[in-house]
């Protein structure tokens, strides 16, 4: 605790840089995933088709995908020997974002679907009867489910900022370039620097708390 407070108070530039990077990466991933998950989740919710139930099952199954597996998957694609090898994405922040988006996407889609299902169907009917097209209906219903949607976004952000296996695998924890709070924590832990690890963990949670408060404020407007 004291170490964390020291670190925060002293504004150690390296720690601040790592924290900023963690926040930026997770926020970007979460934003991208939100932009994909909400439309996709809505499309699934608002349409009935064969295999919908199975699709939802599969999405929920992907809640369980370990970060390392996502990491492996992305790695196989972007490593030199992989199909996208010549883009030189491996061991860059971009690789981490790609991985985090993939990791977070099913979670946010699943939670979007849950949130939409929670909204009274009469509300959807009312919107349709008032001439809303699919997009407008979805926008309204999402607005009505705003608390749950916010929960989905925070969950997505939380998953992205807290994951480590993926960042290690495709980011490589390169000092000054792809090191994030979680990879730093894992490194410090493996070096036996437990206090420092806990200090970094507290910084991470502090960021998450601020993000949660800010998003809640935004939602209430």
């Amino acid at each position: 605790m004291t170490k964390a407070i020291e670190l925060i108070v002293s504004l150690d530039p390296e720690v601040m840089q790592i924290a900023g990077r963690s926040l930026a990466l997770a926020a970007s991933s979460c934003a991208i995933a939100t932009l994909i998950a909400i439309p996709l989740g809505s499309v699934i919710h608002f349409n009935s088709f064969r295999g919908k139930r199975l699709l939802v099952n599969i999405i929920q199954t992907l809640y369980s995908v370990p970060t390392v597996v996502v990491g492996l998957f992305v790695f196989v694609f972007i490593s030199r020997a992989g199909p996208l090898g010549n883009l030189g994405l491996l061991f860059t922040p971009a690789a981490i974002i790609i991985g985090q988006v993939l990791l977070v996407l099913p979670i946010m889609m699943g939670l979007t679907i849950s949130a939409l299902r929670g909204v009274d169907v009469t509300l959807t009917d009312t919107a349709i009867s008032l001439g809303a097209n699919r997009f407008q209906t979805a926008a309204l219903v999402i607005k009505e489910a705003r608390f749950a949607m916010l929960g989905a976004v925070i969950m997505g952000f939380g998953r992205a900022i807290s994951e480590v296996g993926l960042s290690l695998m495709v980011g490589g924890n390169i000092r000054g370039f792809t090191r994030t709070l979680t990879t730093a924590i894992s490194l410090e832990t493996s070096k036996g620097e437990l206090e420092l690890s806990i200090a970094l963990g507290i910084i991470l949670l502090f960021i998450a708390l601020v993000v949660s408060i800010v998003l809640n404020r935004l939602q209430q407007r």
């Binding site: 009469t122 009867s129 097209n133």
Partner: protein, 363 residues
């Protein structure tokens, strides 16, 4: 531009929900500018039909035409058509937003400019007397206030067709009168076509030109109110339109369309083309039954005598139940009750004309 196509037409419309046939063979023609009332008991399919007309649900069978165009299938057409209509659902839900925004939604969705939305919503708020409410969250309104918002929201879009599902079920008499006035104004100003489901028969009569009666998912009768109220097709509809006297009997003689009907222990004369031996229901509206303290010499062919078993008042009218072998209900004015005077246990003569008897064959 002449337009002799009905604005809405359905052919063999049917709806199957969760394995139950909720609607069957609905063939309706609603003319431009007409006000059409849908009546029928609970669960008869009124809401289901209105949902099909508003193109919210797709029918499991049959087609819906709008101005002569089949709009049953294409999603694009369904949306465009729906935007020319408005539907006030039976249980209004309001959006978790201000009253103003609730009313503005339909306009915004149609791409109406911000200023136009503003003027239009302000007008409507004024019309429904809710100007002071515009900033309030609609979720916190009372039942009747929500209903008014729901109606306002629908008419804000100036629809060509207005579909109303029990529009005043949650409203007090004064608000009901206001809404009815609003609807009448709309009808006169915009020649809006209206299809409304209502349980309030008198409201239906006040507003609608024509009535369609639904029973178990089928339209059993369409036509004018007089016919609907006085010549229902079957016993259920008769009860439904408020015919209180429905007496089982058999035709015992028939001459020049005047039949004599034998009931348990009396005889009723009626005008009907039923043949001798047919099992029938004799229906007499309670307001057609005249009461007197002595035998009247009038043209009324049916006169019975009995004791008053119950007397109840509703506003200016009194409902009198008489036991004359069978139970007969008469509706008379409060004033006649006071003048005669009538009271429980008193013996009275009840009479009604043969032409006041509507005969329904028993199936």
């Amino acid at each position: 531009m002449s337009n002799n196509k009905p604005i809405i037409e359905t052919t063999d419309l049917g709806q199957r929900l969760n394995g139950r046939d909720v609607l069957r063979d609905i063939n309706l023609r609603i003319e431009q500018g007409e006000v059409f009332a849908l009546i029928g008991p609970t669960g008869s399919g009124k809401t289901t039909l209105l949902r099909l007309l508003d193109l919210i649900d797709k029918p499991s069978q049959g087609k819906v035409y709008f101005n002569g165009t089949d709009v049953t299938e294409s999603d694009r057409q369904r949306l465009d058509t729906r935007r020319r209509m408005a539907f006030v659902l039976q249980k209004p839900v309001v959006f978790n937003a201000s009253v103003y925004d609730n009313i503005a939604y339909g306009l915004k969705w149609r791409g109406v400019s911000r200023e136009n939305v503003h003027t239009r919503v302000d007008d409507i708020l004024d019309m429904i007397g809710m100007v002071d409410f515009h900033k309030r969250n609609a979720r916190m309104l009372s039942g009747g206030e929500m209903q008014r918002v729901a109606i306002a929201r629908a008419i804000a879009t100036e629809p060509e067709v207005l579909l109303l599902d029990e529009p005043t079920a949650n409203l007090d008499p004064v608000s009901t009168a206001k809404i009815e006035e609003l609807i009448t104004d709309i009808i006169q100003q915009y020649r809006t076509t209206i299809v409304m489901a209502t349980h309030d028969m008198s409201q239906g009569q006040r507003l609608a030109d024509r009535v369609g009666m639904l029973l178990n998912g089928e339209i059993v009768q369409t036509g004018g109110w007089h016919e609907a109220l006085n010549s229902p097709r079957n016993r259920e509809m008769a009860k439904f339109v408020g015919i209180e006297n429905i007496i089982n009997g058999v035709v015992v003689s028939s001459e020049d369309n005047v039949v004599t009907i034998g009931t348990d222990d009396s005889v009723i004369e009626a005008v009907s083309d039923c043949a001798v031996g047919e099992q029938i229901h004799a229906c007499i509206r309670s307001e057609e039954v005249i009461l007197a303290l002595s035998r009247l010499s009038s043209s009324a062919r049916n006169t019975f005598t009995g004791d008053i078993t119950r007397l109840t008042f509703t506003g200016p009218v009194a409902r009198v139940e008489i036991d004359c072998g069978f139970r007969l209900v008469a509706l008379v004015t409060r004033r006649s009750v006071e003048e005669m005077p009538l009271e429980k246990g008193k013996k009275v003569y009840a009479s009604f004309k043969a032409t006041a008897v509507h005969v329904i064959r028993r199936g």
